[in-house]
């Protein structure tokens, strides 16, 4: 099991099996929708995990990139007459460029200062989205055109299930492969000791920036996918609470663990859905989960399980 958790092809194969088998266990389309939501959130969480788990930098404003992606998918077709898939790509480019320029000064900061700067950046983007209502529909949000690829309209729950799952598999594959690239090795060094990494000649600033851009592009693509899937966007997607949820997915699942990000996303997406009966209690539950998981499972779910298994041997 521990070797399974460490072998990337085993992880991808297991993920593919889960994705292929799940729909047969679902009694209704509603479950397909929830599962697609998990895949999309997991996609964003995996990107953020590259920044947090690998490069060791936090972002409390990551929903901003998610929001940029979502609103690109909404604004492109509605105001500029662009096809949806091109809007997704443009959104990803905008997010990447923005991350590149904002990341330079922000990533010089450490600890609380980094947290508050990313948070401020996120709140500003959300504020712009809420205020520029001519383009974004303001606080009420706006509808999003359905995705059309080669004349096919992707609209059914099944189509979105497979599409989001395909994106997740590719996203996970890229993130897993990162470990074997020079960038991935440098991340490892940076995570262990920034000073040591610098001493052996790694350009730490450029490395952090690369992680920030990667994470922004992942979040942006996830945002576009969610917007097209739901057919609707609102400013909450870019809001502070969504940023906190994304960070919680990563930390709850386990920093640095790709499987962990998927598990964390599943917990944070499924739990509120399961608790819709107690909709009043949603904030109470979310806060409780965050506190308990941070206090008692500091390593996150997946690393904790693999540690338990290793100890059982």
């Amino acid at each position: 099991m521990t070797t399974l958790l460490n072998n990337r092809y085993a992880i991808l194969a297991a993920l593919a099996v889960v994705i292929a088998v799940l729909p047969f266990t679902f009694p209704s389309n509603y479950y397909l929708r929830v599962a697609s939501l998990v895949w999309v959130s997991a996609f964003a969480a995996i990107g953020l995990n590259v920044l947090m788990g690998k490069a060791g930098q936090v972002s409390l404003g990551h929903a901003a990139f998610f929001g940029i992606g979502a609103y690109s998918a909404a604004i492109g077709p509605a105001h500029l007459g662009l096809p949806s898939w091109a809007s997704l790509a443009i959104g990803a480019c905008i997010s990447g460029l923005l991350a590149y320029f904002v990341g330079r000064p922000i990533l010089r900061l450490k600890g609380h200062y980094l947290a508050i700067a990313t948070l401020g950046f996120g709140v500003l983007i959300a504020l712009v989205i809420t205020t520029e209502s001519r383009w974004t529909g303001g606080p009420d949000g706006m509808p999003v055109a359905k995705l059309t690829v080669f004349g096919w309209r992707i609209g059914t729950a099944y189509a979105w299930y497979w599409l989001s799952a395909a994106f997740l598999l590719v996203g996970a594959w890229i993130a897993l492969n990162l470990d074997d690239t020079p960038t991935g090795r440098a991340f490892l060094a940076l995570h262990d000791s920034e000073v040591a990494a610098r001493v052996v000649g790694i350009d730490v600033a450029a490395l952090k920036l690369r992680a920030f851009v990667i994470a922004a592009v992942y979040a942006s693509i996830a945002g576009s996918l969610l917007a097209m899937m739901n057919g609707f966007v609102n400013p909450d997607l870019a809001g502070f609470q969504h940023s906190v949820e994304l960070v919680t997915m990563v930390v709850l699942g386990g920093l640095g663990s790709i499987v962990g990000s998927i598990v964390g996303a599943a917990v944070l997406v499924v739990l509120p859905q399961a608790l819709t009966v107690f909709q009043e209690y949603e904030n109470l539950m979310l806060g409780f989960i965050i506190i308990v998981s941070m206090v008692f499972m500091r390593d996150g779910i997946v690393p904790m399980i693999s540690k338990l298994i290793a100890r059982a041997r």
Partner: protein
């Protein structure tokens, strides 16, 4: 939240439009000071906790919310206002202590960012709790001494503004006397200066940290009670309050109590003048632009100390 903002600007900013430019400026200035005083109290609460325990407490705004909401509901239940306010302060202090004992103390040794996430979790938890225990409506308290505006050099000031400013001044003075003149206060200062050394001279630092959380909660609740007659309150006012208070603390330099007060007043003035003269739709943005500019230009804040990493 939006409703709250609209209400606030209607009461405080638009009034100025009818006057000539100097009195308009004064109008903005006093509004800014009033808002700034509240930010100053929140920032002071931040600083107290940060100094004693290195924790950046994002749940600070929830104390402001609790102060307002508990007072509203207690006085609606027939409790006289001063007693209702006292109950609210006690509730906030109890919550502050529980926050320390149940969430912060058990996480000792976790990274700065983990602790930040815990306090954000606590903030969401308290917001959710207030939503269930109270309701999702906006609530108002009656002004402490009437609603008739007082004319100061052509600007009309609400009497409640003087309560806010006076209350802030009193809170700052009491905190100053406590820290400088009492033995317990000196123990707090010693703990913030050097925790290990404080423990060596026999100070129970765990008690001091709990005290900081309780005191900080009381300061936040007082801010909430004073400002509710002007700005209204609801279960979700805390998040924005915490972010603004944090910006203020940062502006003055983290860990500097005087800086927190100055930073709060500056931020309030900047926001109100910005909303009055530049753009009222981006009013909430000024605080965050400020944070980013200060962090980029002076990563340690206006009055903060430079820290050196030991390898």
């Amino acid at each position: 939240m939006r409703h709250w903002r609209r209400e606030f600007s209607r009461r405080h900013i638009d009034i100025g439009g009818r006057y000539a430019s100097m009195s308009e400026f004064l109008q903005f200035f006093f509004s800014g000071l009033t808002v700034g005083a509240v930010y100053a109290l929140v920032a002071l609460g931040f600083t107290l906790i940060y100094n004693a325990s290195d924790v950046v407490n994002f749940a600070q705004g929830e104390f402001v919310m609790l102060g307002g909401m508990v007072t509203v509901f207690a006085s609606a239940a027939g409790v006289p206002l001063p007693l209702a306010a006292l109950i609210a302060i006690c509730v906030a202090v109890a919550v502050g202590l529980l926050l320390y004992w149940l969430a912060i103390a058990p996480a000792r040794g976790a990274s700065a960012v983990s602790i930040i996430i815990i306090t954000i979790g606590a903030s969401i938890f308290l917001k959710g709790g207030a939503q269930v225990a109270f309701d999702k409506q906006f609530h108002k308290l009656p002004s402490f001494s009437g609603d008739a505006p007082i004319d100061v050099l052509g600007a009309s000031i609400l009497p409640q503004s003087f309560w806010v400013l006076g209350g802030t001044l009193a809170a700052v003075l009491i905190l100053y006397v406590f820290l400088e003149k009492t033995l317990v206060g000196k123990a707090v200062l010693a703990t913030s200066a050097n925790r290990l050394a404080a423990r060596l001279v026999g100070i129970n630092t765990a008690t001091i940290m709990a005290l900081a959380f309780g005191g900080s909660a009381a300061i936040g609740a007082i801010a909430g009670i004073l400002v509710t007659p002007i700005t209204l309150t609801s279960y979700d006012v805390g998040t924005m309050m915490a972010l603004k208070g944090f910006a203020a603390a940062m502006l003055g330099g983290m860990g500097n109590p005087l800086g927190a007060v100055v930073g709060g007043l500056l931020l309030g003035l900047l926001e109100t003048l910005g909303a009055g003269y530049v753009s009222s739709t981006y009013k909430d943005g000024f605080a965050f632009v400020m944070i980013l500019v200060i962090l980029f230009a002076m990563p340690q804040g206006l009055l903060g100390r430079r820290t050196v990493d030991r390898v």
